[in-house]
């Protein structure tokens, strides 16, 4: 790529598209670019982003601005005693795990895993891992929620 853009020659008409190479186990570059990540993951990433903006704002303001001072087991329990904060915290848990793991997946897909099988394996592994972390997080919060 030239770095001397100021003096570049007048634009030539685009070359006709090259014939697609045969599809083997690896995705063609154009297909990778078109489908990187997938539509549903893209959409869910946006939906969880909105959940996180609202939820994290509530979470951070409640914890650090209107605060409760020194955090402790008991004052976390006071906050989680209200249905409102249970809904906020549990939806934050789910949204943050999806958003974080899908974001990490997008970083991985930018550099590695060009084969369909590898991409699918990564997605399945992350769904299994994410579901386990969500279940663990819910288990950890349960003594407060069920009080």
């Amino acid at each position: 790529m030239t770095t001397d853009v100021v003096e570049r020659p007048p634009q030539t008409p685009p070359a006709p598209p090259a014939a697609s190479p045969p599809v083997t186990g690896r995705m063609r570059p154009t297909v990778i670019a078109d489908s990187a990540g997938g539509m549903w993951a893209w959409l869910l990433q946006r939906v969880t982003a909105v959940v996180l903006i609202i939820g994290l704002l509530t979470h951070l303001v409640a914890t650090h601005i209107f605060n409760i001072g020194h955090l402790s087991y008991l004052n976390i329990g006071d906050r989680l005693g209200s249905t409102f904060f249970v809904v906020i915290d549990v939806s934050l848990l789910a949204a943050a795990i999806f958003h974080g793991l899908n974001g990490a997946r997008m970083v991985v897909l930018d550099y590695w895993l060009e084969s369909r099988a590898g991409r699918r394996a990564l997605s399945i592994a992350l769904w299994v891992f994410g579901s386990a972390v969500f279940a663990y997080g819910l288990w950890a919060l349960w003594p407060w929620i069920s009080r």
Binding site: V6, R46, A49, V50, I53, I65, H70, A104, V107
Partner: protein, 139 residues
């Protein structure tokens, strides 16, 4: 060279010259920091169930140290930058402000910096109130 030419030479002249590329890089770095923090956070909170409430309370005692309060502030910056740059990305997805990219970015960053100010004020007030030496406790 006119300002328009100067802006145009950024296109294809090396990705690292554009403001957007730095926004992208910081967005990604903040995202990775946040996903690591998320799992650490779940781990710390779960010690209440794993080791009992005193385990969690002693973790909170540790986090009261001024150094951890400052790290919290850094974390708040990661959240704010990632969230507000994310707002810009959402707006672009809806086709809003596409011709005003840098203005939208500047507006988002203004919101992020002002919000950080609130959290910084709270953090330093907290350190001052709970640690006699203030930040001197760090040294």
């Amino acid at each position: 060279m006119t300002p328009v030419d100067a802006a145009a030479t950024n296109v294809g002249a090396g990705n690292w010259k554009g403001l957007g590329m730095w926004a992208w890089l910081l967005f990604r770095v903040a995202g990775i920091v946040l996903v690591v923090y998320l799992f650490a956070h779940i781990g710390v909170i779960s010690t209440a169930r794993l080791g009992g409430r005193s385990t969690l309370n002693s973790a909170f005692d540790l986090f009261d140290h001024p150094l951890f309060v400052l790290l919290d502030l850094l974390l708040v910056w990661a959240v704010l930058f990632h969230a507000l740059n994310g707002v810009r990305i959402l707006l672009m997805d809806f086709g809003l402000g596409i011709h005003r990219h840098k203005l939208v970015f500047a507006a988002c960053m203004a919101v992020a910096v002002i919000s950080l100010g609130f959290f910084a004020f709270k953090a330093f007030a907290y350190i001052a109130a709970h640690h006699a030496g203030g930040l001197g406790g760090l040294i």
